[in-house]
Symmetry: C2
Subunit: 183 residues, 2 copies
């Protein structure tokens, strides 16, 4: 049986990031044939095309990890109605140099939590535009536009029961999507 490796990319570097907590919670919900692994992006330099022919070590490491995965899970906050520059910087690095993108053909899922539900929705639309261009096959439904509110996470980082049921159903759908589309 294939053991599916999922590269997890979180758009926030904040230690107590809600989206980081969300990614961790989802990791615990994955089926036994799935392994979700966080991809480090906080050590990447700012992308500069002049360095395409000699990518920095953190860039080659990230690309190797992404290329070695069967699928992608993006957990993104909304910053100013789009995805964080930090996440876009990682995506830009992974797409380069021309002809050597790490992203192409991967199945992916997007989740997000923000203080207003509209925020993560708008950020995710931008992310979908970007991933479509990169030939990433993104799960359409169910959309995960979570609204962070008191009690969303308990003190141990566990989700409230209703969120847990919804996200388990999302994870099951995502796992099926990856099994169907992974090459």
């Amino acid at each position: 049986m294939t053991q599916y490796k999922i590269a997890v990319l979180v758009g926030s570097l904040r230690i107590e990031s809600f989206n980081q907590q969300l990614a961790t919670a989802l990791t615990k919900m994955a089926p036994t044939d799935f392994t979700l692994t966080p991809i480090k992006i906080d050590d990447l330099p700012l992308y500069n095309q002049d360095h395409d022919s000699r990518q920095a070590d953190p860039v080659t490491r990230m690309k190797r990890e992404v290329k070695g995965s069967h699928g992608l899970l993006f957990a993104t906050p909304e910053y100013n109605r789009s995805i964080p520059g930090v996440l876009k910087n990682a995506i830009d690095h992974g797409s380069r140099p021309y002809g050597d993108s790490a992203w192409g053909g991967k199945p992916a899922g997007i989740v997000g939590v923000s203080v207003g539900a509209a925020g993560t929705a708008m950020a995710q639309q931008h992310l979908r535009n970007i991933l479509a261009y990169l030939d990433v096959t993104v799960l359409g439904q169910p959309e995960v536009f979570l609204h962070e509110r008191p009690g969303f996470f308990d003190p141990k980082g566990d989700l409230a029961p209703d969120s847990k049921v919804f996200l388990q159903s999302w994870m099951d759908r995502f796992a099926g999507w990856v099994r169907q589309h992974a090459s």
Copy 2:
């Protein structure tokens, strides 16, 4: 007479960046009551909300320069159908901490050149979404979706005559926009 200070933000760090050349060409077309100054963004750290209460020196410098300006000029390439992560990272830094954004209320113009005209258009739409949220007053028309092709810049970095005429008319419109909306 007011001397209008314009903060110029270029989304590409490449030395021979077309958008950098475009920004330089526009600087030469500015009216005498305008001073266009490039804002350095390549020394900013990756944004991390945990550092909001102690922003790094390059961040406070950038915010001071932006706050001291009467208007903004964005020259952005398209990376993967959006703006570069590098530029979004600068925008995210300038918007924080909550309540101390450097961007709010500034009049702005957006220009871009890319190898396909659709690319810069799609990137600029994302940038407009972001700037609208940040309460930046962006000039609507004329849109500047330039298609980089051989001869677009001559070896001295000057623009082809037809582009020069178009961009001079854009600059005149932009200058009027800044005079009208600068506070």
